[in-house]
Symmetry: C2
């Protein structure tokens, strides 16, 4: 019993943390509640209920399934659902008409055959990556509606009326979802993607900052045995490494969104993915760099004279602080959607240092190179 209580308390704490991290989550929960309450009015008001009959259920079902966190996701699901229902319903009615021609014995056999073939074909199409990414939900609904219409046509008399009612209720459900998600505290996937990319660049910048400030400063003081594993700046880029799937799903939803804020419809979302990929490459070279730092210092490095070492260190420190400045510039330029003017200056300063010290083989040149690539692509976008 004590264990159970501790678990409940742990859960409550986690829920509180979630809510504090992003208050829009609470708003979303209330929006779901509101949409459901709105749709259930159709049950309570007599004339509305008798217009739709038992099909009202489908409106409730649609709201529960379609309502998602971001506007883009809700739109994509809602449109997928409405369109797939329409197509599959029409096909189902057609299948019924054909099957009826075959007489009482042949009808169920033919219907079962149609269902088998179409379900198999549609399931297979879900393995194709493009369909999986954009229309996965639509295909599921297609299978669902087609089999429901085709199969139940065997028992239900007024098929057309039923299909009509069902389509109307689904449209109502989708409309309610869209209204609540667009007009009440909307959460735009595009905005989220925008912030995520800018934030990731800031994280990379803070790595360079920490690197310049802590690592080289320590070295200058002659302390090399510090515990690098625990430093916060060595952890900060790790979340960047794993951001791929989140970025992709956000970009996928953002494509469905109408123009909002400073984003127009058909905003070049794929550029964000490119910047994201470059940040991940940058983060992965940081990963290598930090392993190098965290490794115990090798005892014997007899070849380099201390004077050269000092020179290299100072150069590296400057490179990383210039890189940090450039990254911060870029990130704030993305946030304000302007052209990063002084970033070029910082970058060329870093590059000048870099080429001057190129003969000294150090890992910093790796991240420098990646970093140039990041900026170049960014400039191409804006």
């Amino acid at each position: 019993l004590d264990k159970l209580r501790r678990r409940v308390v742990g859960f409550a704490k986690e829920a509180k943390k979630m809510a504090r991290e992003d208050p829009r989550r609470i708003a979303h929960s209330f929006k779901v509640g509101l949409a459901l309450t709105l749709v259930s009015i159709f049950y309570y008001v007599k004339p509305l209920f008798h217009g739709c009959g038992l099909s009202t259920m489908w409106a409730v079902l649609t709201v529960v399934v379609v309502m998602e966190y971001t506007v883009g996701a809700t739109l994509s699901k809602g449109l997928n659902r409405a369109f797939a229902t329409l197509v599959a319903g029409a096909l189902g009615v057609a299948a019924h008409q054909i099957a009826v021609l075959c007489g009482d014995k042949g009808e169920p056999v033919l219907l079962a055959f149609f269902v088998f073939i179409l379900a198999a074909a549609a399931s297979f199409s879900r393995f194709i990556p493009e369909i999986k990414a954009r229309y996965d939900y639509g295909v599921t609904i297609f299978i669902l509606t087609f089999s429901l219409v085709a199969v139940s046509s065997y028992r239900v008399e007024e098929l057309i009326q039923l299909a009509h009612q069902r389509l109307a209720t689904i449209a109502i459900g989708v409309a309610i979802c869209l209204c609540t998600s667009i007009f009440l505290f909307p959460v735009w996937a595009g905005q989220d993607l925008h912030n995520l990319v800018a934030e990731n660049l800031e994280k990379l910048a803070s790595f360079f900052d920490g690197f310049a400030a802590e690592y080289f400063a320590d070295h200058q003081r002659g302390e090399t045995s510090a515990n690098w594993e625990g430093k916060p700046f060595l952890q900060v880029y790790k979340s960047v490494l794993n951001s791929k799937s989140k970025e992709e799903s956000l970009a996928n939803f953002a494509r469905w969104e109408p123009s909002h804020g400073r984003f127009l419809f058909r905003h070049p979302w794929e550029h964000y993915l490119k910047i994201g990929a470059l940040s991940r490459r940058c983060a992965s070279s940081m990963d290598a760099l930090s392993t190098c730092i965290a490794a115990p210092p090798s005892k014997s490095k007899p070849c380099a004279d201390p004077d050269l070492q000092l020179k290299i260190r100072t150069a590296c420190k400057e490179i990383s602080s210039e890189s940090a400045k450039a990254l911060k510039e870029i990130s704030s330029a993305i946030r304000s959607m302007t052209f990063p003017c002084s970033a070029n200056g910082h970058l060329s300063a870093a590059m000048a240092k870099l080429t001057k010290e190129m003969q000294a083989a150090d890992d910093s040149d790796l991240s420098g190179i990646l970093h140039v690539a990041t900026t170049a692509s960014l400039l191409a976008e804006l």
Copy 2:
């Protein structure tokens, strides 16, 4: 029209490729078709239909939604659905009983209030990562069933009988799905995860192989201007970098699976995730290494004398071929689930070389270090 035709042809080609890559996908498509046809028998056979009435629809719905590619995913969805329906149905009936006490006017208000609160709370719980990972689908179904039962209780007379029918049909749907997915050409998430991890290790090994064979061989012949970007061994590790989300979802589903093949229930799936994380670290240092290779050779490296350079190169070549051997050992050990005995030998050979040549600062020591970590964790597991 010509554009449309080209698109259709492109689609067909892609579908063919998908089918050839993994023939189990075709089997899966037919399994979905079969399960749907089986469930639609309930419509065609009169006594069965009259036992369940219109609720038969729910069996079809369940089959379409629950049927997934791997056994683990189907099991997790099916159990989630059945359990959530049971709990939500009971709560819905309870809510109805309470609401009835408030009289004709109060009933709809109280019902709407219940729906609002529970839907909001359940939606919020979906943001908590643990629930999101394992019970996301169950929570959706919980909201769905609760609102359907609570809201329709206002209009429907024989609530208990309806709930009973619905539960029975959902159970039938889940049972059909499980039977087809477990007994007909099962696709085990655990097996897939196992193969994926072993395959990723092999990819890393092939990188080392290619590195040893092509890069150092070229250098020995004095050709440094080859086009490294295009080499296949430089592309092969990239898929390893992005395997995180796939591995996690497979491990998640594998937890639900009963014992199959050589895997028991409660097989230590989390170890696979650890190995996967280490392979990704290894791949990310390879990424850094290959950027270094692909970069144009710096013109001036005056400090090192050619004799030392040659020595370093030979050492690096040996290190990477030993590493490749060790990785291949480990991978085949994972495949056969035995203890990797000779991998230790290869690894210590590589390490001996490494420490001997530690004074030569080259990136290979980076990947060497990561690599030791990979093996160490593996040995701990087996």
